[in-house]
Symmetry: C2
């Protein structure tokens, strides 16, 4: 089911709120309660949760444990999705060291670069191969996801290689707008675009009297 | 000027495209050319660029060098914005090691945590202080931005401390929906929400015949 992106972006908010409520000892929760905590309309929350296959009971609400498990499963955080990372620069290396991704369902099993000083080494146990070895490693690992952290000059070229190699989804951290065939998923996460938005908002409040 | 967020998110795409064109030796570029490269309507590009204080000339187009400089300046990438980072866990540590942020205008000058094994140490030359020292360090550094990479249980508490300490903008990497006073800027960058969207899209194409 193709769930609307705004819903998919809000569901992790509910999940983290539920985890917090659980820690505080709550066994049941209503969408009204979640609404108060995170400042989103209760009707919106109920609508979003209707995509997840679980229903609340009148007056009692949702069971916290059940809803947490259902959300984690629905969001894909309980299955491990294998990924290759391309470009072991500053950000790429940082992502290889971020073990948190694994808790949310992403397991980077190998990385690729062309730098002789990197190829053949590993970071946090994740081996770094030469980009030319992609086809060979693909047949070994069968990986659906590619994390793109290369310089912009080669972002498109590496994307093309990924797709040719069988990658089905590209998590694009570069500020470059990559092009892919229609059946390939692209998720753009440009930290720099987010920085630009933040800087602009900051300069706007700075100028207020 | 409060520039629309979609515009602010697209401008870095144009910037990276321009840098690429420059590398390839282009001196002038039209919005039509950029449009072909990155698959966005030329009229949309011209409209977005109208926020930046620069104009193209009929037939000749924009000067590549001038437009790059104007965009970098407009997006806030040329000024260094100082930031504190809160929570030196897996992701926090990774961000401290990502020197790329500096090239886009963000300089993390200090980090805060409560772990005795971390406090007093440093990562890439960035000192790690105890969270209790925030007020003291704030008067020393005068920092407008706080990067939030703490566990969700303390996300709101640390946010409140930041705001109390004088932070004007919070870059929130947690999946928690934090609350702030109206004049505080929040930029949410939840990698996990992006993962959820990608996983869902991936499972949808997997199920296609």
């Amino acid at each position: 089911m193709n769930v609307p992106e705004p819903t998919l972006r809000r569901l992790p908010w509910y999940l983290s709120n539920l985890k917090l409520l659980k820690q505080r000892g709550a066994a049941h929760v209503s969408s009204t309660q979640i609404s108060k905590d995170i400042n989103i309309d209760a009707s919106q929350i109920a609508k979003d949760l209707s995509f997840v296959n679980i229903s609340g009971r009148t007056r009692v609400g949702y069971e916290v444990d059940t809803l947490i498990a259902a959300l984690e499963d629905f969001l894909g955080f309980t299955a491990l999705h294998k990924a290759f990372l391309f470009g072991v620069g500053s950000l790429g290396g940082a992502l290889l060291r971020d073990s948190g991704l694994k808790h949310f369902g992403l397991e980077i099993v190998a990385a690729f670069d062309v730098k002789p000083s990197l190829v053949g080494t590993s970071i946090e146990g994740i081996p770094i191969f030469h980009t030319d070895e992609l086809a060979q490693r693909m047949s070994q690992y069968h990986v659906p996801i590619g994390v793109l952290t290369v310089p912009i000059e080669i972002a498109q070229e590496i994307t093309d290689k990924m797709v040719e190699g069988g990658i089905k989804a590209v998590w694009n951290f570069t500020p470059f707008r990559i092009r892919v065939p229609q059946d390939i998923v692209v998720q753009n996460t440009s930290l720099y675009a987010h920085l630009a938005v933040m800087f602009n908002r900051l300069s706007t409040i700075d100028r207020k009297p």
